[in-house]
């Protein structure tokens, strides 16, 4: 009986999650072009090419990995600190609280395509609102936001914050509300300042939520694709082409699917290593506290 309930989901799960994981490994061992009948087995050649600095795929792949690394490094801290700050400001009862929460969350319900197309317009070097506002404030107003470095990174990170701030803030806010009021009351009876309340009550109280948000934010940033695809197209010269962007272009535009599948396994392993590291860092501190 149970299997009747499970069957519809499991069919999808096996066909589009379990099978592809194994199938992807298989593809990565071949010179695999979707459009060609012959798909010769090449063993580990695709992987070797990606780690051999003399191969043609080496530089573009590792440049894209570097782009993903840069984006993750700069976006993740901001995507933790700013939403946490917003959640702290919102974590009190005041009129219009739910309205503000809704406003900050709203961009998240828009797709990356809408967000990207909109901000590409706002960041347009010639007719964009951003340069126009900067000019109005007496600041440089000819910045080629999407076609120069480091401006393009600033734009990509800023857009990502605008888009997903509300998502992280809402999760933090729920976490903050689970911190027992009595702890704050006890702390203030003991004469703790707001700052020490934050350090000794708030932060330990939201630690599990904090590590969860950190984890999903790292994964989301490391999977960045749409912002680059729509806003910079990898500009100025491929520097903002992220790993995902490289992999799907290689696999689904050039149809070099074997190399792309191998690259996606390397990216996955890098991501898993990063996750384990974050997990371990957070564990370590919990241990020293106990």
């Amino acid at each position: 009986m149970a299997w009747v309930f499970l069957a519809p989901y499991l069919i999808l799960f096996v066909a589009f999650v379990l099978l592809p994981i194994v199938f992807g490994l298989w593809i990565s061992l071949h010179s695999w072009d979707f459009t060609l009948p012959g798909k010769p087995f090449v063993g580990l050649e695709n992987y070797k090419a990606l780690i051999d600095s003399t191969s043609v795929t080496f530089a573009p792949f590792w440049n894209s990995m570097q782009a993903t690394g840069i984006f993750t490094l700069f976006s993740v801290p901001l995507l933790i600190v700013i939403p946490l700050g917003v959640a702290l400001v919102m974590n009190e009862n005041f009129p219009g609280r739910n309205l503000f929460r809704g406003v900050f969350f709203a961009p998240y319900v828009l797709g990356v395509a809408v967000v990207g197309v909109l901000w590409r317009f706002l960041f347009d070097a010639n007719v964009g609102l951003v340069n126009s506002v900067l000019g109005g404030l007496g600041l440089p107003d000819r910045i080629p936001w999407l076609s120069s470095l480091p401006a393009a990174w600033v734009a990509l990170v800023a857009v990502t914050i605008w888009w997903t701030l509300g998502f992280n803030a809402v999760i933090f806010l729920a976490g903050l509300q689970d911190v027992p009021r009595e702890l704050y009351e006890a702390a203030s009876v003991d004469g703790a300042t707001r700052w020490s309340q934050f350090l000794h009550v708030t932060i330990p109280g939201v630690r599990p939520v904090l590590s969860f948000v950190l984890m999903i934010t790292i994964i989301a940033s490391a999977n960045m694709f749409g912002q680059s695809f729509i806003m910079t197209n990898g500009a100025p010269g491929g520097e903002t082409e992220t790993a995902i962007y490289y992999i799907v272009e290689q696999g689904l535009s050039s149809f070099d699917m074997g190399a792309a599948a191998a690259a996606s396994w390397i990216l996955t392993l890098a991501l898993m290593a990063a996750s384990v590291l974050v997990f371990w860092l957070f564990r370590e501190r919990d241990g020293s506290k106990a």
Binding site: M1, A2, W3, F5, L6, Y9, L10, L12, F13, A15, F16, L19, P20, I21, G24, I27, W32, V89, N98, F100, G102, V103, F104, F105, A106, P107, V109, L110, G111, V112, A113, V114, V117, L118, R120, F121, L122, D124, N126, V127, L129, G135, W162, V170, I171, A174, V209, N223, G226, I230, A243, I247, V248, G251, L252, M257, A261, S264, T268, S275
Partner: protein, 270 residues
């Protein structure tokens, strides 16, 4: 403290709302005004030209994309809710051999980055002859672990007594599920269908690569096509962006509570 908070929230609100207002305003401008420096906030002579130009254009049929997105997102949400509810109920309430393995393998895939699935799923979808059809954006992504988790959690919290007394009254497993468990879970089912609809409506990478004909695209993939064809016609781009965002913004306005609580609850579970 109070003044500081009001100041901060006011500034943030400005940063969040003004881009959206500017998008809407630009969509009603003429081609000339949309590219004008300095930009205007209110269109001098508001016009529907941009909308007329894109809604039924043969290379960028935005209205058709709108219909495609509606069909795909609705079908996807229904598929996710049905398959997840059934599976989640089995995992929450039924005893069977292999339950732990099934559950563990679903859990494990939460940690699998989706990029690993893109290349092989393209090949699989190709072999099923789904490429360039809406089925390709409806079905494969429905196999996500989130819905099963979310509903399993909800079913576990339901009081067992109701289901047990239904059994005593002679109901079978199916009736208990359909007549007791499901009706009690309507809020959770509503949240899941909303989130699934939104996710599918906004999905970008996958539709960009699996849908290629102009008339088969979804709005999000279509936006990229439109941008490629009219890269600095911001009047047209903003009109299409408005079409792509209005439905979700309206849904969000009315169902804000469900969406936000769904998101924050899923976060807390982790």
């Amino acid at each position: 403290m109070k003044a500081l908070r009001i100041g901060l929230l006011g500034l943030l609100t400005l940063l969040f709302v003004s881009p959206l207002l500017f998008m809407i305003s630009t969509s009603f401008k003429t081609r000339q005004e949309a590219g004008q420096v300095p930009p205007t906030w209110i269109p001098r002579d508001p016009t529907l030209q941009a909308y007329q130009a894109i809604l039924n254009a043969s290379d960028t049929p935005v209205f058709r994309w709108f219909v495609n997105s509606m069909v795909a997102a609705s079908a996807h949400a229904v598929l996710v809710v049905i398959t997840s509810a059934l599976a989640a109920y089995a995992l929450a309430r039924l005893e069977f051999r292999g339950k732990r393995i099934v559950f563990a393998s679903i859990v494990a895939t939460l940690f699998v980055p989706p990029v690993i699935l893109v290349i092989p799923n393209y090949e699989i979808v190709g072999r099923l002859f789904w490429l360039d059809t809406l089925v390709a954006v409806i079905v494969p992504t429905a196999a996500n672990a989130f819905g099963v988790f979310f509903l399993r959690q909800f079913f576990l919290q339901l009081p067992r007594e109701l289901e047990e007394s239904a059994f005593l009254d002679g109901a079978n497993q199916w009736q208990v599920f359909a007549k007791i468990a499901l009706p009690l879970s309507l809020p959770a089912l509503a949240t899941l269908s909303l989130l699934s609809f939104l996710t599918n409506w906004n999905d970008f990478l996958w539709p960009v690569y699996v849908l290629f004909s102009a008339e088969n695209q979804t709005l999000q993939a279509g936006l990229a096509t439109l941008q490629a064809a009219n890269s600095i016609r911001y009047d047209l781009l903003m009109a299409a962006a408005v079409v792509a965002s209005l439905p979700v913004l309206i849904v969000f306005m009315f169902a804000q509570r469900y969406v936000i609580e769904g998101v924050s609850r899923s976060g807390l579970k982790g």
